[in-house]
C-alpha cells in the first residue's frame, strides 16, 4: 500500500479529479479540480495551498550538528544564523549531486533538513565520531506550502510573525504550534508551514478558514510543476539524475552543471566533494543548466506548414528533448511548459557550456503532426518569472 499524508482526510474529498500522483511513496493530488489551470493561476494571483508532507525531513540536534551539515552540504552552514534557511545541494566525493533540499537552523544546535531522497544513512555514516542526534521526522512532521501573493495577508491575519526571504520562525496559528519558513518551490511570495502530524488537520482547517476571504485554494502538483519551471527550479529525477541512481558516468551532474555554482562554497576548508569541485571550477564545467524560450513565430510556422493552428502543451512535460546548434545536438531539455502568465513556451535545458550563453540562438525538437521538427529557441536567464514580491 502507498502511504497517505496526514492531510489525506481533507485532501481526498476535495480531489474531485481523482487524479493522484506518487511522491516519495505517498499519494498526493495531481490536481483537485478537473483541470489544473485555476490552481496554477491561484499560485500567481491569490494563494495556493499545497500538501508537501512527502518531503523527507530530518532533525539534527547536538554540539556537532552544524559541523556535520557543513561537512555534507556545499553551502556554509557554520555561518547560518538561527532562523535562517539554506537551499543547498549535497554531493558525493566526486562532486556529483546526490540530492538537493533545505537546511533550516532552528536553534544554535538544532537543524531541520529536507530532502527528496531518504538520507538517513548518508547523514549517519558521515556523523561517525560526532555528537549529533539524527532523527527521521518525515512521518511525524506534516508540511503545507502556502504560495502566492495572498499568502502573507492570510498568515498575517492569523497573527504570524513577519519573515524575510529564506527565514523561519516558530509561531502559533489559532492555537496550533508551527514553524513557518518563507520558502517554497514556486518562485513567488510564499511560505511553508511545518506542524506536528497530529495537528495537521486542525492546521488545514484553520488555513482554509482564514484564507477564505483571500482566495485560498488547495493546489495540486500539476500546477506546482508549471510554477517551478517558470521559477527556473530544477526537479530531481526529472532535471538531473541523483548520483546514487546514475548507471553511467554521463548521467552524473555537478552543482556547476546544474547552475548551482552559487551554492558551492569553496572557502570552506572541508566538505564532501570539495576537491573535485575546486578542480571543476578551475577547469570550468562542461555543461550548464539554462532556460530556453521557444520563438513563437518559428513555432507558429511549423504548425502552419501542416495547416494547423499553433499548439502548446497544456501541462508541464518531463522528458528528454534534443536541442541543436546548426544541425548538431548540443544539449537536451528536461522539462518544459507553456507559461500562461508569460504567454511563452519555456523549457529547462542542459547545454554544452559553449552554447549556454544567454541570447544564443538554438533549435529544439518539436513533434508536429507525428513529425519531428525543430523550432527556434533562445537561451535566456532563469528564472523566467521573478516577481519582486518573492523577496520583498
Amino acid at each position: 500500500m502507498l502511504k497517505t499524508t496526514p492531510f489525506h482526510a481533507r485532501t481526498a474529498p476535495l480531489c474531485v479529479s481523482h487524479a493522484w500522483r506518487r511522491w516519495a511513496g505517498h499519494v498526493v493530488a495531481s490536481s483537485y479540480e478537473l483541470t489544473h489551470e485555476r490552481e496554477y493561476h491561484v499560485i500567481r494571483a491569490a494563494a495556493g495551498l499545497l500538501d508537501v508532507s512527502p518531503l523527507y525531513k530530518y532533525r539534527l540536534r547536538g554540539r556537532d550538528a552544524a559541523r556535520l551539515l557543513d561537512l555534507v552540504v556545499t553551502r556554509n552552514v557554520m555561518k547560518a544564523a538561527v532562523g535562517q534557511v539554506l537551499y543547498t545541494p549535497w554531493c558525493d566525493h566526486a562532486g556529483k549531486v546526490i540530492d538537493d533540499g533545505t537546511v533550516a537552523r532552528l536553534d544554535e544546535q538544532t537543524f531541520r533538513m529536507t530532502s527528496a531522497e531518504p538520507s538517513l544513512r548518508w547523514l549517519e555514516d558521515n556523523a561517525a565520531g560526532m555528537q549529533v542526534e539524527i532523527t527521521d521526522v518525515s512521518d511525524s512532521t506534516a508540511a503545507l506550502s502556502l504560495q502566492g501573493p495572498m499568502s502573507w495577508p492570510i498568515l498575517e491575519s492569523m497573527g504570524a510573525p513577519a519573515l524575510k526571504y529564506f527565514r523561519l520562525a516558530a509561531a502559533t496559528l489559532r492555537g496550533i504550534p508551527v514553524t513557518i519558513s518563507r520558502t517554497g518551490y514556486t518562485g513567488d511570495l510564499g511560505f511553508e508551514i511545518w506542524v506536528d502530524a497530529a495537528q495537521a488537520l486542525p492546521l488545514w482547517d484553520a488555513l482554509i478558514d482564514a484564507g477564505r476571504g483571500y482566495g485560498i485554494m488547495p493546489t495540486g502538483l500539476l500546477a506546482l510543476d508549471m510554477a517551478r519551471i517558470e521559477a527556473g527550479l530544477m526537479l530531481i529525477d526529472v532535471d538531473y539524475v541523483p548520483a546514487r541512481k546514475a548507471l553511467i558516468a554521463s548521467q552524473l551532474s555537478s552543482p556547476f552543471e546544474l547552475d548551482l555554482a552559487w551554492t558551492v562554497n569553496l572557502e570552506k576548508e572541508r566538505f564532501i566533494g570539495r576537491q573535485a569541485l575546486a578542480e571543476e571550477k578551475a577547469r570550468g564545467p562542461q555543461w550548464l543548466f539554462v532556460g530556453v524560450e521557444v520563438d513563437w513565430n518559428s513555432l507558429e510556422r511549423l504548425y502552419q506548414e501542416v495547416g494547423l493552428a499553433t499548439r502548446v502543451p497544456g501541462a508541464a512535460w518531463r522528458m528528454s528533448v534534443p536541442i541543436y546548434a546548426s544541425g548538431e545536438q548540443v544539449g537536451y531539455a528536461t522539462s518544459g511548459a507553456w507559461s500562461p502568465l508569460l504567454k511563452k513556451y519555456i523549457a529547462l535545458a542542459h547545454l554544452r557550456a559553449q552554447w549556454a550563453k544567454p541570447g544564443t540562438p538554438l533549435e529544439m525538437e518539436i513533434t508536429v503532426e507525428h513529425k519531428r521538427k525543430r523550432a527556434a529557441v533562445t537561451v535566456v536567464k532563469k528564472p523566467f518569472f521573478d516577481p519582486p514580491r518573492k523577496r520583498a
Binding site: L2, G25, R121, L247
Partner: protein, 522 residues
C-alpha cells in the same frame, strides 16, 4: 529415421535445447530418454487426482530469453507467470514482504530498518552492474586459462580484454561476490535479519553450503541477471507446471525434425579408438552416430556410460572428486483451502508470490549445521509457491497445490534415507510451516515428499543434486566439470556434454544446452 548425425542421451531441458539448436542448424538429431517421459527434472504430473505438480524443479529462474526467442517457445505453448513478491513470515508474528513495487517495498523495508530501505537501491544498482559484467560469461563457453591452443588463447585474450575494459571497481566487486559468503556480503549492506535471511537463502539453493560459507554471495547476482534481458520479473512459473518448459522445447525441437524416443535407456556409449561411435541401449539395440551428446551429469556420463579405460586418469580423478552432495528436497501438498499465515491471514497478492521460511541468517545457518553432519534440518529453510493461485488449471476449483522446496535434506543422511525417514522429514516440514500457518495441517489433502535419494532414483541426477553438481567456486567456469574440459567437449572425440554439469550450469536455464550446441556446430 536413417542414421542420425547426433544422438543426445537424456531428454532433460538442456538435452532438448541442444537438440533443437542442432536440428535448427540442419543436423539430424535423435534424443534418447530413459524414462517414459521427457523433461528430466523439469516435469509436471497429476500426482493426485485433480492436482498437478511440478514434481521436482518448480520455478523458472533464468531460462535464457534468447532461447525463448530463438526457439519460439511461446508458439509451442510456453507461458511464464511472474512471481511478484516474497513473503517472509517471522516467528514473532511479524513479516517482511519484498514487493515488486518500489515504493511499497521501500516502505516495508523501512518498517524493519530505515537504513536498509536506503541501502537497497544502491545494492540493487551495484548488483545490476555486476550482472551486466558477468552476463557475457553465461552465453559462451568458458575458455581454459591453461590452454596453449590458439583458439582458446584467442578466446582467453578476448575475455581478458573484456575484463580489462570493465571498470576496475566492478572487477573487485565481482571478486568479492565470488569469494565471500552471502551473509558477510549482505552484512556490508543491511541490518534487517529477515531481509538478510531471505536474500542469503538464494545463495544456498542447491548446495550443501550455509549462508556463512564463502562462495555463496555469487548466486545473489542471479536475481538481477534476468532483469537485464528486459524481463520484467526474472522469476516465475510456467503455466501448467515446469513440465511445460520441457514440452515446449521438445515441441520446438520436433518442429525442427528432432526425433525423441522415450523408454530408451542408454547403457553405454560406444568408443572405438578414442572416438565415440554410437550408443548401446539397455535392450541391447545399438545405434550409430558420429556425434554423441550426453545430457546426463558428469558422474553418470564418465563413470557410467563410458568405460574408465577410455579416459585419461587425471580426468577420471577430476570427475571422481567433482562434488554433488544433493541437499534439497521437495514437499508437494494438495490443499483443500489456502494456508492462513498468522502474519498475513487474509488471502491477498502475497499469496501469488513466493513465501520464504528464512527469518534470519542464523536460522539458515543452523539448518545447515545439522546437514553438515549428516542430519536433515529440524527447522529447515523453505521456499514455497502456490502455483494454483496463478494457474487454476493446477488444482480443482477452490483447491490448491503448494510446492515446498526444502533445505537441508542431505543425500548422505546418517543411516540413509528410508520410507520412514522420508515421512519423518515430511512431518518436520509440515510442522515447521504450521507454526507460521496454523490451519495448514487441516488443509492438507495429500502429501508427496521427494528426497535427494528419490530425485536420484527417479530422474537419475547423481546424489539428487538439482544442478548436476554443486555450484561452488572450484566447480565453476573453466573448472566445470573438470579443468581443461569445460568447453562441452570431452577427452573422447565426438562425445560432448550439454547438461547443467557444464558451464554455466544451474537452474532451468538452458544455457548449457545452447552453448553446447554452438560448440558442436563450431
Amino acid at each position: 529415421m536413417t542414421k542420425p548425425d547426433v544422438i543426445i542421451v537424456g531428454g532433460g531441458h538442456n538435452g532438448l535445447t541442444c537438440a533443437a539448436y542442432l536440428a535448427r542448424a540442419g543436423k539430424k538429431v535423435l534424443v534418447l530418454e530413459r524414462r517414459e517421459r521427457i523433461g528430466g527434472a523439469a516435469f509436471s504430473e497429476e500426482v493426485f487426482p485433480g492436482f498437478r505438480f511440478s514434481v521436482f524443479s518448480y520455478v523458472v529462474s533464468l531460462l535464457r530469453p534468447e532461447i525463448i526467442r530463438e526457439l519460439e517457445l511461446p508458439r509451442h505453448g510456453l507461458q511464464i507467470l511472474p512471481l511478484e513478491s516474497t513473503l517472509t513470515p517471522l516467528p514473532n508474528g511479524d513479516r517482511l514482504v519484498q514487493w515488486s513495487d518500489h515504493d511499497q517495498n521501500r516502505a516495508e523495508l523501512a518498517r524493519h530498518a530505515p537504513r536498509d530501505a536506503e541501502a537497497y537501491d544502491e545494492f540493487g544498482l551495484l548488483l545490476h552492474r555486476m550482472a551486466r559484467a558477468v552476463k557475457p560469461l553465461l552465453r559462451t563457453a568458458a575458455p581454459d586459462p591453461a590452454s596453449l591452443r590458439p583458439g582458446e588463447l584467442f578466446d582467453l585474450l578476448r575475455l581478458g580484454r573484456y575484463f580489462r575494459e570493465l571498470p576496475e571497481k566492478d572487477l573487485h566487486a565481482l571478486w568479492k561476490l565470488l569469494t565471500m559468503s552471502a551473509a558477510d556480503y549482505l552484512d556490508e549492506w543491511f541490518e534487517g535479519e529477515a531481509l538478510k535471511g531471505t536474500k542469503s537463502a538464494s545463495g544456498i539453493i542447491g548446495t550443501l553450503l550455509g549462508p556463512r560459507s564463502p562462495g555463496t554471495a555469487y548466486v545473489l547476482l542471479h536475481h538481477y541477471m534476468g532483469e537485464l534481458d528486459g524481463v520484467f520479473r526474472a522469476w516465475g512459473f510456467a503455466k501448467g507446471g515446469n513440465g511445460s518448459v520441457s514440452a515446449a522445447i521438445a515441441a520446438a525441437a520436433q518442429a525442427h525434425g528432432v526425433e525423441i524416443r522415450t523408454n530408451a535407456a542408454v547403457s553405454r556409449i560406444r568408443v572405438k579408438g578414442g572416438r565415440a561411435s554410437g550408443v548401446i541401449l539397455e535392450n541391447g539395440d545399438e545405434l550409430e552416430a558420429g556425434t554423441i551428446v550426453s545430457g546426463a551429469d558428469p558422474r553418470r556420463t564418465f563413470l557410467g556410460l563410458v568405460r574408465e579405460e577410455n579416459l585419461p586418469d587425471e580426468f577420471v580423478a577430476a570427475i571422481k572428486r567433482y562434488k554433488f552432495r544433493g541437499a534439497s528436497a521437495k514437499v508437494n501438498l494438495a490443499l483443500g483451502e489456502l494456508p492462513r499465515f498468522t502474519c498475513m491471514p487474509e488471502p491477498g497478492p502475497h499469496m501469488r508470490g513466493a513465501i520464504s521460511i528464512s527469518p534470519s541468517v542464523d536460522y539458515l545457518e543452523r539448518a545447515y549445521d545439522e546437514a553438515k553432519y549428516g542430519e536433515f534440518s529440524r527447522r529447515p529453510y523453505m521456499d514455497i509457491v502456490i502455483p494454483s493461485m496463478l494457474d487454476p488449471s493446477m488444482a480443482p476449483p477452490g483447491k490448491h497445490v503448494m510446492s515446498i522446496f526444502v533445505q537441508y535434506a542431505p543425500y548422505h543422511l546418517n543411516g540413509g534415507w528410508s520410507d520412514a525417514r522420508r515421512e519423518e522429514f515430511g512431518d518436520t516440514v509440515v510442522n515447521t510451516l504450521a507454526e507460521y500457518a496454523p490451519n495448514l495441517k487441516g488443509a492438507i489433502l495429500h502429501r508427496q515428499v521427494v528426497t535427494p535419494a528419490d530425485i536420484e532414483r527417479i530422474v537419475g541426477l547423481s546424489e539428487g543434486n538439482i544442478f548436476q553438481g554443486e555450484l561452488s567456486l572450484q566447480q565453476m567456469f573453466f573448472l566445470r566439470p573438470a579443468p581443461a574440459w569445460a568447453r562441452y567437449r570431452t577427452p573422447i572425440h565426438g562425445l560432448y556434454q550439454c547438461g547443467s554439469g557444464t558451464h554455466p550450469g544451474g537452474g532451468v536455464m538452458g544455457a548449457s544446452g545452447r552453448n553446447a550446441a554452438m560448440e558442436i556446430l563450431r
